[in-house]
């Protein structure tokens, strides 16, 4: 009984910690993205509120909360109200299985530094990223707007087709670790990261996850210059804010996923594991911001053709080759 209580309290503490850290990180990623993009375009970015614009995220949130929560006429009201929450929720839930440090021993108790070390953690992540599609599709469909519908359609097709290559790119990683658990995948990379072991899988993963999470250059579902703002055209106030925050939490999730699957998780010399983990996550986030500053948006059919005709065959080939090599090495 006592043991159970302690475990429960530990899980709650970890949950609170992750919730706080991830949300504040998401808020500051918005600021970081705006500042880095600004510098890449020879502007300063937001720098008026607080020293170097540090209070800007807070002001943005206050502005979003105090704005009118508008539901368009003839929108499907309940789905419309529900969809943004789904996006933010699935992004937040993904963090439950991400290990950010090796197990810690405190008062003779081994505490795993992950909210829930599922033995199918990887599949859990995939399930959640599939669920995230619903936020986009339902939000776009319920808005009763042509732009939203177009954005939702694009989002659906794009996310479904890129999920295949994303999953296939991770098969070699699972082969190496012989486990679906994220902790064990990280443990398996203690000598060298998967990025060096499976470079092709890494590239396929990065491209697919960019498309999967609707980041530029694959942000067709919300392409500003074609379909206003895509699936969240009709949203205002904090509901738009939830989509927005969900996108940036998603960016951290991507960072964490890339770190765990390919960059070796918390493994690294000299510095404490948590620092390595957070550093790698932030580095991946920077890569995505950098890509946003550098790449133009391809056409929609080009994106799908690239996914189906290039990435999926390549990923399949990669799986076959990796399997063959592993078989030859073992046999």
């Amino acid at each position: 009984m006592n043991d159970l209580l302690i475990s429960l309290i530990l899980i709650l503490v970890k949950l609170g910690l992750i919730f706080g850290v991830v949300l504040s990180m998401a808020a500051y990623l918005v600021l970081a993205e705006r500042k880095i993009l600004g510098r890449m375009q020879m502007r300063y970015g937001p720098n008026r509120i607080g020293p170097g614009g540090m209070i800007q995220p807070l002001c943005d949130v206050i502005k979003l909360i105090t704005k009118e929560d508008f539901v368009p006429a003839r929108a499907d009201k309940w789905i419309f109200l529900f969809a943004p929450g789904l996006t933010a929720l699935t992004a937040l839930l993904s963090f439950a299985v991400v290990p950010f440090s090796p197990p810690l021993t405190l008062f003779g108790r081994e505490i795993p530094m992950v909210v829930c070390d599922l033995n199918i953690g990887l599949l859990y992540l995939f399930g959640l990223s599939s669920l995230a599609v619903y936020g986009v599709v339902l939000g776009g469909w319920a808005s009763n707007s042509k732009y939203s519908l177009l954005g939702a359609m694009r989002g659906l097709a794009q996310m479904l087709s890129y999920e295949l290559s994303l999953g296939l790119a991770l098969v070699p990683v699972v082969m190496t670790a012989k486990s679906f658990s994220l902790t064990e995948i990280v443990m398996a990379q203690s000598t060298w990261p998967n990025m060096l072991q499976h470079p092709l899988a890494f590239i396929i993963f990065m491209v697919s996850i960019t498309a999967e999470s609707k980041r530029t250059p694959f942000d067709m579902p919300e392409a500003e210059n074609e379909i206003v703002a895509g699936f969240h055209t009709e949203y205002s106030g904090m509901r738009f804010g939830l989509f927005f925050v969900g996108e940036y939490i998603n960016l951290i999730v991507i960072g964490a996923m890339t770190t765990v699957f390919f960059l070796g998780g918390w493994n690294g010399p000299f510095l404490p594991p948590v620092v390595w983990f957070v550093g790698k996550v932030l580095f991946v986030a920077f890569l995505f911001i950098w890509a946003r500053g550098s790449m133009p948006r391809p056409r929609y059919d080009q994106l799908l053709r690239f996914g189906w005709k290039v990435l999926i065959p390549l990923a399949l080939l990669n799986v076959v080759i990796t399997g063959a090599i592993r078989l030859a090495m073992n046999g």
């Binding site: 880095i36 600004g38 510098r39 890449m40 375009q41 020879m42 502007r43 300063y44 950098w290 890509a291 500053g293 550098s294 790449m295």
Partner: protein, 176 residues
């Protein structure tokens, strides 16, 4: 080969944006850094004086007529010696579009635009400026020009008595 071109085209922009990341932004941080506008910039409108210190404005209403938004109004009056002046002169800067047509229309170079662009005010009535706000102690752009030394009706000098001015034509004479 196309593949090589595509890979190069994908990676090159990253290198370029990384370069720009470390360049100094070109933004002018307004309240702290202020841009110096060119001398002929059209912002605050002033009424200037002659080199001898008298008012240039003769209240001819040309600026008021030229103004496309009708933001200039005045009342003409005459001195004891017949010299015209504006008894009151008002510019509504809340309506002014800073087109500079008033300055172009002015025959005496009294009304002129200046590069002072910081006019905003929270109280819109403070943007309605009277003659005492507009009149400055200087000649503005041309420090030499004095309308009555070149032309004008017998105020400073007799008719035709000014420098480079012809005397009045006698309409009854046969030859011009």
């Amino acid at each position: 080969m196309n593949l090589w071109r595509d890979i190069k085209g994908t990676l090159q922009p990253f290198w370029i944006t990384l370069g720009y990341l470390f360049k100094k932004p070109v933004t002018i941080q307004y309240p702290e850094e202020k841009r110096t506008p060119p001398p002929r910039y059209r912002a605050r409108i002033v009424l200037t004086r002659n080199p001898d210190g008298t008012e240039r404005c003769v209240a001819c209403q040309l600026c008021s007529a030229a103004c496309p938004v009708d933001c200039i109004s005045m009342q003409a009056a005459e001195d004891d010696d017949g010299r015209r002046y504006a008894s009151w002169f008002r510019i509504n800067f809340a309506r002014c579009i800073f087109c500079g047509l008033c300055a172009e229309a002015c025959p005496t170079m009294a009304i002129q635009t200046t590069p002072d662009y910081e006019i905003c005010n929270r109280d819109v009535l403070k943007l309605v400026q009277e003659k005492e706000d507009l009149l400055i102690d200087g000649c503005g752009k041309d420090t030499e020009y004095n309308y009555y030394e070149h032309s004008g009706i017998g105020v400073a000098n007799e008719r035709g008595g000014n420098e480079d001015e012809y005397g009045p034509v006698d309409p009854k004479a046969l030859v011009p």
